[in-house]
Structures are given as structure tokens and as C-alpha cells.
Symmetry: C2
Subunit: 420 residues, 2 copies
């Protein structure tokens, strides 16, 4: 750290809904997003759902004078969709792919093919180490019967782990992205309680934007309004979270959201609203950090991890059941195939009897058995991997819980949360 | 950090070759490994290729009095095979799965199914934060024509990234495992130069073990000696690497390897030799760390990253070619299917002509076309993911290079390597 003057730092986050040929007004919207970013002259822009590299390259070119540095995080089949444009040099980039991210056969939801992840870029502004994270978690398609909840909880767990483990040397931590979780959802609490990240919506001195900071609103022409009716017409699922350190005090001066249509155009920037947060980084005397605060939150954290562990166990139970079903169906397919071969062998040995052999049915049934075998084999491999990932997370949670509970016992003695 | 007396810390690492029903003497060897660990009373044991959870649970029970803490890292279809047994409480565990790890259709090599990864556990000994990493990289099946080299280089890149990003707050960093790379291989250099980790074989004051520290020797009855002939009968591919910090000076007092058969038994512990390293952690006055050393190595690091980038590009070229081949074959399969359907449709319309329709050939050919389509689709998805992962790594390398080159220019001014 080589500076002592406060630094103004402006962050932008938007889920761009950039599915070429499927998202409405995709190309025009990227032009408008580029215009907005050039006009706003932010320090860093964190974009999600930039699915097509051509759109990233278009933005890169368009933004090159204001944002000379950029990074596009590649993973999975289509990509992670995560892109960063920065006014400041990006010194390092690192990607963590979530171990669970939906199912490949749920092609209509498409999350699996996106290879969702959390990306990290390192900036150094006047000697301040700024660790900026961008992520996009699995979508929630049905809140009442959310079959992806365990996957999203695992993602939130891995996200907090990644941030905690990789930002120990950070002076400032910023996370922006579409978490697909409401502010009080289990995953959001897990993330905030464990990392100590603060929500810019709660902390901002000035707020200008949609009611209650909603980023997914029913007025949006690209949004299925039916899903939003139970929530009074809008939800807040996009966030800019932040944290200072013992060395730097971070305050959020303002937060704003876009409010519907692009000025002068009939369509909005995306099916989400964009967030812009303004921070002030004030170098402070060492030790004045937010560590004490976190220690107070230990009991709440223990409860949240326990709750998350229960959710992971529910997912594990379900994945194990699916794994067994796949195995059973596969065995049935195998038995059917063996039976068919046995039946086909009968006329072969009964040489005397001259019955016409039903070749067509034989081949059709054989192909069916083979298809069942192949499909169940693939499903078995997939579900086994899901089981392993869920078990692994549950093990990590158990370990973390016993360590947290120990710290809780010691907490009257140990006030500093960076004990470990 | 709350201590000032030197701490003696002993680390064990072994690739256990624990493939149930396939590895020879598997069960007996785990009994002997357990005996050895109980007898040695180490601080931490890092095991690889503990493929079966039952073997982990067996060891956990057997070792419970000396090593009350353990963690088994689960990932992929079979698991990561990584297990840790510790005398000291494990406060946190985190797993990073490598984005590339062989091919699922290379079932005889099996690496893909293993879900290779790097695991991290956190210990706290008298206030010292010890970050211990265990890993196992993709095997090298043919050194002359190593088709997995780009995958291993990507793994080495991700390993160094994971260690660098997650150990900023560590007082001591230890990495143990089977890297499947020789000491001067590109991946080993990349790992050591970038992280500043030191090789206990080079640094140990006392060494007792196989010639030149070999851990994979031709005398081993489980080893295919043909592969080792060009290397004089042994190679060193298992490592215990270490690093101190500004707060703690780490020195390696001794390193030893097992030397063939288990005493009193006709078989060795594994197809690899085990490593045991003894370290001394001496708390030091702040700033006395190894930072200056790394700064001297910047030009070498730039060269190594450049070399790695070239290797990744070679892999990328190959993966792109495979991706195109899969796409072309798939299109051929589709054309064949359409043609067949067209031919089948001819007698349907030519109602007058009464020719016997070759049903059996029709179904067989149809099934073949369908199988081609399905296989090429799966391969296309797989190779696209490989391309994305390689492109992503190359992008990260390019970013890192420009930052390193900048530091190189500044290096006469900036001596501290923890500038970022």
C-alpha cells in the first residue's frame, strides 16, 4: 500500500441476456450497453451472460479507449458468460468453475452448458490491491419447487470459499453479479455471513433506482411477469457486494439501477436492470478493519452453515436416488437385451422348425435396449459425479462447522476473526 | 502468529496406487501404509490414489489415535483419490478441480474418471497458519509422444494459480503429491518459478533414499520397467515442496524415501516410493522473507510462462482440429441418415412397384447413423469444452505475461515480489 488519499471507485454490473438469435434485440442492446459504459466512464464493468465471444469482442473494440483492459472468462461448452472491462490494468485473472450447475439433459434451461463460474481479476490502484470478483449462479426457474436449490447452495458455498481463500491479501474486495438469489435467501446469507461482504444496497448513502433495488422487474418487456407477481412486481437478485480490510476503509457513497427502457429507445438494456455503485476507499491505520464485526456474527454463521448443510443433504438424498434409478434402469435394459438375444438364439438351435424370424422387431428392440443402456450409463456417471460433489461439500461444511463452533467457544477470548 | 519457538513439522506423501481389484496386494498394502503412518507419527500425511472410500475409512479408523483429523477430497466420477491425515485440527478444506484431465473415452488410462484436483487444508499450529496442498496430476503414459502434455501444463498452471491466490495469508505453504512431471519439466518449472516453492529434495540438509530421489523405480515389482529404461531405472515425479513467508523461515532438515519392499514383506507400499520430509519453522522478524529471491527469477519466469503458453497453443490447435473432425463426422452421419430416409421413402411413393423392402439393412444402417450422430455430438461437446479451457488458460497466461513483463521493467525499482 503506497497511497493515503481516498480513492473514488465506480463499479457497474449487468446481466446482459446475450443469447444470440434467441434474446430479443440482442445486437442493438449490446450497442446501447457499450454506449452506456463509455458514457459512465466507470472504473470497472462486470458483465454476465455475454454468451457469445463476438459480442465480447464487439464491446472490447467499442470500449477500448475508456476501458483499455478486459478479460473474458471461458469455461464449459458455451462459456461462463462473464466479462470484465477495466480502466485499470488487470494484473491477474483466475477462474473457479462451480462443481454443480444443473443437468445437461435440461437443455431448455441451458445452465449446464454455460459452465457457470466465478472469475477474479486483480487490480492495483495507487498500491491498493483490489480483488474484483464476478459471478453468475444457476437460475431459479420455479421458486415453489426449486429442484436446483441444492446446486445453487453448493455454488454459494464454493463462491464464499473462493472469495475467502483468495482474498486474504486484498485491501479491497468487490463482488458483482447475478446471484439468482433474493437478499434473505440461504445462499445470500451464507455468502455474506461467511465472507463479511456488505451489500451496497443496504450500505449506500444515496440510492437512486427501482423500488427496493429490484433488478428484475415486471415492467421489463423481456421478463415473464407471471413469475414476479408473488413478489409485488420485482425482485432483487443482482448485487454489488464489498469489503474493506485492516488497511482500507470502504464506504459506499451511492448505488443506482437503470429504470427500464434505454433513453430514446423502446427496449431496456437487458431483462435485468444494471447496477452502478460508487465507493470511497480510505486508507486507514492498520487494525481498524471490520474484523470485530464478524466475530459478533459467529452464531448466525453457524446457523446458516447448518441450514446450508441440511439443504445439501436433501440434494444428496435426491441425487443418490437418481443414481440408483439410473443403475436399476440400466440393469433392466441389460436383462432385456440378454433375453432378446436368448429368444433370437432359439430358432438358431431348433434347426428343424422353419418359422420366419421377425428381424425388424428384433433390431428395433435391440436398438431400444442399447439406447436404454447407453442413456442410463451416461446418467449414472453424471449422477455419481453429482453425488460426489454434494458429499464433498457436505464434508467441507462439517469441517467448517466444527472449526466455527470451536471459535465460538473461544470467542470471548479471541475477538479477531482473522484468527485463521 | 503467537509463537516464537521453532516448530518441527514432518510431512509424508505417497501415491498409494489404490485401485481395488486391479492394483496388486491393494488391501495388504493399505494395512502396511497404516502401520507405517502410525509408526512414523508425522504431523501430516498426504495420500494420493486412495480411489476407494472404503480404504480411506479403513485408514481413518486405523490411524484415529495418532491422526485424529482427516479429510477425503471427493470429485469427479470415482473421486480425486486425495486424502489427508493430520495430527493437528484441520480448520478448513477447499478443492479445486482441474479444468482438463484427459479424455473420457480413454477408459484404459482412467484419468478423466478420477476427477483430478488440488486439495487444500488449513492448519493452525501455535498461531502459525500452515496451508497444506495435496495434488495428483495427469499421468504420463508415453514421454516421447505425450498427447496429455497440454492437459498437464494446464493443470500445472491452475495448480500454481490456486496456490498463489489462496496462500497469501499463509505463514507456511507445503505441497505434496505426485506431479507426474520430472524435476526439469515445463510444468514443474512453471509451478516452482511462479509460486516460489522450493524442492525439499534440493534443500534438505540430509537425504536418505533412492538414488537421485527417485520415487518411481524399476526395482518396484508393480512398475513397468520398460518405461524407466531411458531414465537409468528411475524417475523423480513425487514431491514435497515448501515455502516460508515474511513471518516464518522454513528450512528442510531432512528428506527420505522408502526403498522398495515393506520390511518383512515381499511387496512394496505402492508402485511409487513414499516421501517423508522434516521441516523446521522458525518465526522471524517481519520482512525477512524469500521475496527478493523471486524478483531475481522474473526473467526465468517470463520464459517459462512463454514456453507453457506455446504448449497450450499446441494443445489448442489439436483440440480445435478434433472439434472440427467431430463436427464433420456428425454432419456426414446426418447426411447418411437423410439419404437413407429418402431411399426408404421411394417404395412408399412408388406404390405400384412391389419390391421387398430390406427392413433389416434399413434398421441396421439407421442405428449406425444414429450412433455416429450421438457419438460425434458428445465428442463435439467435449472437445468444445477442451477448446474453451485451453483458450481460457492461454488468455490468463497472456495477461500474466504482460503483468510480469511490466514488473520486469520496474524490477530495478521494485524489489519486493509481493508488489501484487
Amino acid at each position: 500500500m503506497t497511497t493515503s488519499a481516498p480513492i473514488r471507485f465506480r463499479v457497474f454490473s449487468l446481466n446482459c441476456w446475450g443469447i444470440r438469435y434467441l434474446s430479443k434485440n440482442c445486437k442493438e442492446r449490446f450497442v446501447r450497453i457499450g454506449d452506456l459504459l463509455n458514457q459512465e466512464q466507470l472504473d470497472i464493468a462486470l458483465l454476465q451472460e455475454v454468451w457469445c465471444e463476438k459480442d465480447f469482442l464487439f464491446l472490447k473494440k467499442k470500449l477500448s479507449s475508456i476501458y483499455p483492459y478486459s478479460h473474458y472468462f471461458k469455461s464449459g461448452f458455451i462459456g461462463s458468460g462473464l466479462a470484465v472491462f477495466s480502466k485499470h490494468q488487470i494484473h491477474d485473472a483466475f477462474l473457479y468453475r462451480y462443481s454443480l450447475n444443473g443437468y445437461p439433459y435440461m437443455a431448455q434451461h441451458g445452465d449446464w452448458f454455460g459452465g457457470k463460474a466465478v472469475g477474479k481479476v486483480l487490480l492495483n490502484i495507487n498500491g491498493l490491491k483490489i480483488h474484483v470478483f464476478v459471478t453468475h449462479l444457476h437460475a431459479e426457474y420455479c421458486r415453489e419447487k426449486d429442484s436446483y436449490l441444492p446446486h445453487r447452495v453448493v455454488q454459494a458455498w464454493e463462491l464464499q470459499q473462493f472469495i475467502r481463500h483468495t482474498s486474504a491479501a486484498a485491501d479491497v474486495v468487490i463482488l458483482g453479479g447475478d446471484l439468482n438469489m433474493h437478499p434473505d435467501d440461504l445462499g445470500t446469507r451464507l455468502l455474506r455471513n461467511y465472507t463479511g461482504l456488505q451489500d451496497s444496497f443496504n450500505e449506500a448513502v444515496n440510492f437512486d433506482g427501482c423500488e427496493e433495488g429490484h433488478t428484475h422487474i415486471s415492467e421489463n418487456p423481456f421478463t415473464n411477469t407471471d413469475n414476479l407477481v408473488p413478489f409485488g412486481g420485482g425482485i432483487r437478485i443482482d448485487y454489488i457486494l464489498f469489503k474493506g480490510s485492516g488497511e482500507v476503509d470502504v464506504s459506499c457513497k451511492s448505488l443506482s439501477t437503470t429504470k427500464g427502457p434505454v433513453p430514446g429507445h423502446p427496449f431496456p438494456y437487458s431483462d435485468h436492470e444494471a447496477l452502478t455503485a460508487e465507493f470511497l476507499f480510505t486508507p486507514t491505520t492498520k487494525g481498524n478493519g471490520c474484523s470485530e464485526r464478524q466475530s459478533d456474527k459467529l452464531p448466525e454463521l453457524v446457523n446458516t452453515v447448518n441450514e446450508a448443510r441440511t439443504e445439501v443433504k436433501v440434494g444428496l438424498h435426491c441425487a443418490e436416488r437418481m443414481c440408483h434409478t439410473a443403475a436399476r434402469t440400466g440393469i433392466m435394459g441389460l436383462i432385456l437385451l440378454v433375453l432378446e438375444l436368448a429368444i433370437a438364439a432359439v430358432p438358431l438351435f431348433a434347426l428343424g422348425a422353419e418359422q420366419p424370424f421377425p428381424k425388424a422387431s428384433f433390431y428395433l428392440l435391440g436398438a431400444l435396449c442399447f439406447a436404454i443402456l447407453l442413456a442410463t450409463l451416461l446418467l449414472y456417471v453424471f449422477y455419481s459425479m453429482e453425488v460426489k460433489a454434494l458429499q464433498g461439500t457436505e464434508d467441507q461444511m462439517r469441517l467448517a462447522l466444527s472449526s466455527l463452533q470451536e471459535r465460538l467457544k473461544e470467542s470471548p477470548k479471541v475477538l479477531s476473526s482473522d484468527h485463521l
